[in-house]
Amino acid sequence: MSKPPPPVSTMLMRGLFEENPVYRLALSLCPAVAVTTSVKNGLMLGVAVFVVQVLSSVSASLVKHIINPKIRIPVFTIIIAIWVSVMDMTLAALFPHIYEEVGLYVKLIVAFAIIISRMELFSMKYPVVPSFWDGFGMGLGFLAAMAMAGAFRELLGNGSLLGFPIVEFQPLLLVILPAGGFFTIGLIMALYNLVDVKLGHKLPEEKMGGGHQHG
């Protein structure tokens, strides 16, 4: 609590651009590749992660004073598991059709590195309100990342967006396949870097002295 929290706008932009979970931090790539075969799937998982991220960040910030730091990791895991289970049960009850498609992935959110890393890096140090905005920004960043990758892959691989046919051409099957998911994420990552260079920012690798490892 030594540093004052950054302004809300910075926290939102950070999730979307500077520290985008998928394209900048390269976290949770596995579901990003698996689910983004269409915009709809990507959006649905994105929304689920967004909700879990916000709730978990807020909860972690709420309990940080009564929890011994030595057990913070198991406590974080329990908190995430609570909200994921709540999401799972709510989806199954209220949106059975969506649940049929994303049910499998919703349970996997428990193991998403991005959620626990935000709790550890941010919620442990700041009060509830900034934690909410940090979770909001990061969740939004993940949601946007999933939507982007989904749109790219659905458009090139299927010629449609959100299920509506857009262009008529022989679709590039490769883009839909898992390998295409990595290409897609690599390309969007490159785009992020390109924008940074154009804006005169330093690339993340240079900032950190290069050769750092992703979690």
Partner: protein
């Protein structure tokens, strides 16, 4: 790395207390949400089941679907079987001889959750006196204009990793009218192909004897047969069977999915067993429906 000192007593208590509190909060939240969402979930599962049955039997929207649940009760070496139809609960002995019939109260008949039905049955027959009592399976009767349009049996069979749950639609002559895999955890791209038309439709249109003789072959699926299998669903079941009769009869074996012989055999054996068991049971319960 520096060696950490073991935590002192105070710290240990605070750790244990913290974890207990968090787990307690988790239990309260999860319990509350479960309590609120479970009825809706049960309703959704039921609606999906009904839709699957309706599609399998080709029923119209106004058709009625009745569920028949089966229970086994062991008293020492003595076995009794119970059938719960919407209106009646019938208790029979091993040979199918009727022992007792109970009528089902309205609130149980209209109950949404299967648990409510099971509880009533256990109470009605004093299940506590049995050494072992349990629900073992169910089937559905599709009724259209008061006439029986067909049956759907729920079956389970051990798959490659865990149980495969399926719905088997059966006509009045105990022939297979359709197969739908309801739940499975086979590997995607391999065993999971059992849900594909080119596999599951291989059972459709076969009579009782033909089904019991089914074997699994590792030969590749002939192109013409595959096309015919894929086309079921585009047209009415009866029209399809009539048109494809020569192809059905000339392919008396089930073509295994490439690389997934175990899953293919699991489904084949499950279908055979479900069908023959159903015929035996139907002889007993027919009169009570």
């Amino acid at each position: 790395m520096e060696k950490q000192a073991p935590p002192d007593l105070r710290e240990m208590v605070s750790i244990a207390l913290g974890l207990t509190l968090v787990c307690l909060a988790a239990a309260i939240i999860l319990g509350g949400v479960y309590f609120l969402t479970e009825p809706a979930k049960v309703r959704n599962v039921r609606a999906r089941e009904q839709a699957t049955i309706q599609e399998l039997l080709g029923l119209e929207a106004g058709a009625r679907i009745e569920e028949v649940r089966r229970y086994l009760s062991w008293k020492g070496k003595h076995l009794e079987v119970l059938y719960l139809t919407p209106k009646r609960l019938v208790r029979v002995d091993e040979t199918g001889e009727e022992l007792e019939t109970y009528s089902v109260p309205v609130e149980v008949e209209t109950a949404q959750s299967p648990d409510a039905k099971d509880e009533w049955v256990m109470e009605a027959v004093n299940a506590a006196d049995s050494d072992d009592f349990g629900y073992v399976g169910r089937f559905f009767v599709g009724l259209e204009d008061g006439r029986t349009a067909g049956y759907v049996v729920e079956g389970v069979t051990p798959g490659y990793k865990t149980w495969i749950r399926f719905f088997l639609a059966i006509d009045a002559d105990f022939g297979v009218q359709g197969l739908e895999i309801v739940e499975h955890e086979e590997d995607p791209g391999l065993g999971a192909e059992i849900t594909q038309p080119y596999f599951k439709n291989q059972f459709v249109g076969r009579g009782f004897a033909q089904t019991q003789d089914l074997e699994v072959t590792k030969d590749p699926l002939p192109n013409k047969w595959e096309k015919a299998l894929e086309s079921l669903g585009d047209q009415d079941f009866e029209a399809w069977v009539q048109a494809q009769r020569p192809l059905i009869d000339s392919h008396p074996k089930i073509y295994a999915i490439t690389g997934s012989t175990i899953s293919s055999e699991a489904v084949t054996n499950g279908v055979k067993r479900a069908l023959s068991n159903f015929r035996t049971r139907m002889n007993v319960v027919e009169d009570y429906l």
